[in-house]
Amino acid sequence: MSKAVLVDITKCVGCGSCAVACKMWNDLEYRQDSPIMGKESKLDAENWTNVKMVEIEKGPEKETVWRFVKNQCLHCEEPACASACFSKAFQKSKDGPVVYNPTLCVGCRYCMLACPFDVPKYEWSKVIPLVRKCQMCPDRIRDGNSPACTEVCPTGALTFGEHNQVLNKARETINKDSKYIKHIYGEKEAGGTSWLYISDVPFDKLGFRTDVTTQPVPRYTENIMHLTPAVGLTWGALLTGMYVYNRRRNEIAKEEHSKKKNDKKKK
């Protein structure tokens, strides 16, 4: 049911068609100081995806190679942003995309703190700012199409399909060809994501965070927070018990005090 995309970094030539397609489909602005491609490009409020160029020394001969990395939201299986959002502005839809509902957002930016990949970006320049990130074209996916970026890739670097199909294709590809690193980025990171990457150069050299936990990020808080009702009830019961006990003691103390006074008066 859940859809995914495989990004084969060896096949990317850095044409930027995907980034332009994203701008076209989502009606995003082009900003002079915020390029969508090249060494200086990065995600921001109007760049929901970018193609970053990296020069790497590869292999034992330290041959310099150019690689192009498409960045965007990884649409985690158990997203930290959705867990951190108390307004339910971020939700994981059943088709796969982690979708943002701007009408529910209050602009607290907890999602930005929570995301292990630093994906959601804020509209700093606006008076009523929203959080912006790749939506994985949910209406296109609902109609059975691939996201806009995947549709236009001319070299086949982006493959769209069911999550397990895409994962199988990734496994097949890296096992069949020895040039690939034997790791699928996104298979286990943050508990699994919908955007998977395979590459022939180490992921840390490409700018990926390789120290991300394999436990889904929401579990860290869920482990503690699921105790809340139990703690609440227990503590409530305890305090109620103490209150009742102390009230009874006060009543008894008062009774004894007034009895003593009456006795004194009688004398």
Partner: protein, 517 residues
């Protein structure tokens, strides 16, 4: 008085708490109601062009990927704002030029690109266009210390007028010179001068190959198209020995301006800023080739470059318009002497088959020392837009000179594969990277998008008609070229000619992974 300021209703503690409680309940209800909202109303887009196309998928708007352009590409640049993902750049690069898609992935450290600029001609929104060098040239023109020299390619004089509303093919040679003079160039030379020079050098080389005087194989390939040269360097480096060692006319003139011209006029070569007006975007790449500093070696200053800037026909038109110079109202003016004379044979370099026809005229004269017959002054088999053309020319006393001409690298590949197999029984082959030859170059006015054969033929016909009108139609008739040999170079392929006018090539075959067969 105090009574007037008393509130009508007293707010008691009870009523205040009631109000707060009510608000709180309302807030809780709103929160719960909001949390029930589902994810369907998401942010993001509704379509390719949201105002017009509300349907899903790629219908009716066809969106396709585009060509990769390396960030440091000296010839072309792209404005993403204007890109509509029509995919025409990809179409021409893959189908007409056979460059994109003809290498395996991953890339190494180079985006395979021959800088031909056809993508710029096919781009409907001009998102892809030439890299702008007009600011650089304007600065040099305004610098009182610089002696700014310019040369014009033959193909520009049948197309520049189109940027000013004239019909495709209108011959504006004189007006172009006048315009350049008004822009402030100190000397205006004609690339036709060195086109004639190229004929003399290259025909000499061809005859030496045929006779066996130099140990190089036949067929000989022309080498004046930098897009074609780069294509050969990528995909057919094993065929380098076939490539003529002659530089392109542009580079020959660049080298001569900073040596021969500088000496004759007594100008310090570092003060010369050499510009070329070209129909070609690959020329911007060519001037950056490391080996293009022969004039620097001549003066023992290797940092001195033969050429400093290239402007396309479109850029020149922009510069003229910025200065409010209307080409159509200008008088015809002449090129400056010393490097300004060109014959009809040089003029036809701009058309596909032109280099070959001019070379045949020259070779005939060299071998027989007689004027070529009339059919060599209109060598129809090599004229026109057919992809691969052949001709056989009878040279009395020697035999038949077999030649071939091709334009567009898809056609080039056919011929090259035949040469590799040994199936190419020619002596001489002309390769042009752009369909139609230079008149269809990546820097030419976008009179038809994508370029049409009609526009190409109009420009080609104009060139051949101008050639027919000229008194001198063969390279050896060029008096200034003969003076150059007399005063400076001595004879074709002399030691000095080899240093200044000849070059070698770079194997780029290892910069990418070839396609697995």
């Amino acid at each position: 008085m105090d009574e007037q300021f008393k509130l009508e209703k007293k707010v008691t503690r009870r009523s205040f708490l009631k109000m707060m409680g009510g608000l709180g309940l309302a807030g809780i209800t709103a929160s719960i109601g909001g949390n029930m909202a589902n994810a369907s109303e998401q942010t993001g887009g509704r379509g390719w062009l949201p105002e017009q196309y509300q349907s899903s998928g790629t219908w009716p708007a066809q969106v396709r990927g585009r060509v990769p352009i390396a960030p440091g590409n000296p010839s072309i640049a792209r404005d993403d704002k204007k890109c509509i993902l029509c995919g025409q750049c990809l179409e021409v690069c893959q189908k007409t030029q056979t460059v994109f898609g003809y290498y395996d992935l991953p890339i190494i450290d180079d985006i395979v690109c021959i800088n031909c600029g056809q993508c710029a001609l096919w781009c409907p929104t001009a998102a892809i266009t030439e890299r702008d060098d007009t600011d650089k040239v304007m600065q040099a023109l305004q610098d009182p210390d610089k002696y700014v020299v310019v040369q014009t390619a033959p193909a520009t004089r049948v197309a520049l007028g189109e940027e000013f509303g004239l019909a495709p093919g209108t011959f504006v040679m004189g007006q172009q010179v006048a315009g350049l003079k008004r822009l402030g160039f100190d000397a205006v030379f004609d690339t036709n001068f060195t086109a004639d020079l190229t004929i003399l050098e290259e025909a000499t080389e061809l005859i030496k190959r045929i006779k066996g005087d130099i140990n190089k194989p036949l067929p000989q390939f022309t080498s004046c198209s930098p897009g074609w040269v780069k294509f050969c360097e990528y995909f057919y480096p094993d065929l380098f020995p076939h490539m003529s060692t002659c530089k392109s006319p542009q580079q020959m003139l660049g080298a001569l301006v900073k040596t021969y011209f500088a000496k004759k006029k007594g100008i310090a070569p570092e003060k010369i800023y050499s510009v070329a007006i070209m129909p070609c975007t690959a020329k911007k790449f060519e001037i950056q080739r490391p080996e293009m500093n022969s004039s620097g070696h001549y003066w023992d200053k290797p940092s001195l470059r033969d050429m400093d800037a290239v402007l396309t026909t479109r850029e020149l038109a922009r510069m003229l318009k910025k200065k409010n110079i209307d080409l159509t109202t200008l008088p015809e003016e002449k090129y400056d002497p010393l490097l300004g004379e060109g014959t009809g044979g040089a003029l036809i370099f701009g058309a596909t088959g032109g280099v070959m026809e001019a070379a045949v005229r020259g070779a005939y004269f060299f071998i027989t020392e007689q004027q070529p017959p009339a059919n060599l002054l209109q060598l129809n088999p090599v004229r026109g837009l057919e992809g691969v053309k052949e001709a056989a020319v009878d040279v009395p006393g020697v035999g038949t000179l077999k030649v071939a001409v091709c334009h567009g690298m898809k056609n080039g590949r056919k011929v090259l594969d035949a040469v590799r197999k040994g199936n190419a029984p020619y002596h001489f082959i002309e390769f042009m990277s752009c369909p139609g030859g230079c008149i269809g170059g990546g820097g030419q006015p976008r009179s038809a998008v994508p370029p049409s054969d009609e526009v190409r033929m109009a420009r080609i016909n104009s060139i051949y008609q101008a050639d027919a009108r000229m008194k001198k139609r063969e390279a050896h008739e060029n008096a200034e070229v003969l003076a150059l040999y007399n005063d400076f170079l001595q004879h074709p392929m002399s030691h000095l000619a080899e240093e200044l006018l000849h070059t070698d090539y770079t194997n780029r075959g290892k910069r990418f992974i070839p396609l697995q067969a």
